[in-house]
Subunit: 199 residues, 2 copies
DNA sequence: GGCCTAATTGAAACACGTTTCAACTCGGAT
DNA sequence: ATCCGAGTTGAAACGTGTTTCAATTAGGCC
């Protein structure tokens, strides 16, 4: 990403951390990033697109942490929950920011379809790697994760679906982070138990 | 609900059917419902709250249909998928409306926490009843569904989580309705298989 | 009927996302 | 050095959600 765009995204993240979605006023972002409003709009078609770019940035960081300290655990369950703990510590700790990013990615804007799918793909990839016991190696900047089996992919998809719904519930105030993790564990138990049986 | 409020909600639904979330311009809603803008705001604190009221309305209709023609099927899987088919036919067919309602309920507005939780409770209740093979009887306007077991509740919660995430994906253009139902079936297979084992 | 309170109305104003535009700047091709 | 086109700037304007407010109306109570 180009220097100016990065400055814009970082400014947006700062403002979102402080005051959430509403605090990301594009006039303020432009001013703080020392850019004209028109420049911001040349690079990001909307507030949502800007915040989704911020989400991409945060997910990249998450992936780096994931690769450097992959969740360890004796079984699938522990490793998968270790991954969700990582997301909580890496992203949800900054509640204002996390809520703002979730709101942006779930806005339903058709322009963001591709980015939304990419986000889910990232999470699912990390989930597949968590299901395995391998230590993921950083392979020239890319994650090494050859040929996931279709049952691994299916489990990861289902886990990600549950996780996404729980994130939405957290963002909407339906539950706090600890209950969210509890619910995730309960659902994961069902899912992993199901996946351990021959179809 | 009072007459004036109902008129406002129905007007909002009309507009949302025609043009989605953006087409629900509150000035237009007020004008079409023959009410002053201030009156609309006295009854609904925001556009999202208005649309969530519309969602409540639609979910009530869904529940009526559910009670009058409960999904039938030889096993849990078929009945649960029958329920999701019902939602598709009853709500998602009107794509503009459905997307608008989903956008509202997932807006993350703290004022809507209660309504969001209530929505999920409704869906989960119908899922519990679908898991069972009973014919749900309309019990004086309320659904008869005595004492769901904790394992039924857990399955219903997990199914609902997956379903909600898939709805968001559909609303965001990640997949169409048919692929969404396919994904739902695949995840439900995992979940129901897991629930059929002793914990 | 007269009165009191709450609801309604119409209209204006405000905030912020988004668009538009003319003037300006800058890096590279000639 | 000059010129060109793309990117940038600053400022204004527009649309829509939201707020505000004075004037009006409606409905129950004496």
């Amino acid at each position: 990403m180009e220097e100016r765009s990065r400055r814009i995204v970082e400014t947006a993240i700062d403002l979102a951390e402080k005051g959430g979605f509403e605090a990301v006023r594009l006039r303020d972002v432009a001013a703080d990033a020392e850019v004209a409003l028109g420049t911001l709009y040349r690079r990001f078609r909307s507030k949502e697109e800007l915040l989704v770019a911020a989400l991409e940035f945060e997910v990249e960081n998450l992936e780096k942490r994931f690769c450097s300290r992959p969740p360890s655990g004796a079984n699938e369950m522990e490793r998968v929950m270790g991954f969700f703990d990582l997301v909580v510590r890496g992203l949800l700790r900054r509640q204002n920011l996390a809520r703002a990013l979730l709101k942006a990615v779930s806005s339903g804007d058709p322009e963001l379809t591709q980015k939304m799918a990419a986000y889910h793909a990232h999470i699912e990839r990390m989930l597949v790697m968590s299901l395995r016991d391998e230590v993921p190696r950083d392979d020239g900047g890319e994650l090494a994760d050859p040929k996931p089996s279709s049952s691994e992919v299916q489990s990861a998809e289902t886990l990600n679906q549950v996780w996404y719904a729980l994130l939405m519930g957290w963002a909407g105030g339906v539950h706090g982070q600890a209950p969210m993790l509890e619910k995730m564990r309960a659902s994961a138990e069902l899912i992993l138990r199901g996946s351990s049986q021959a179809p």
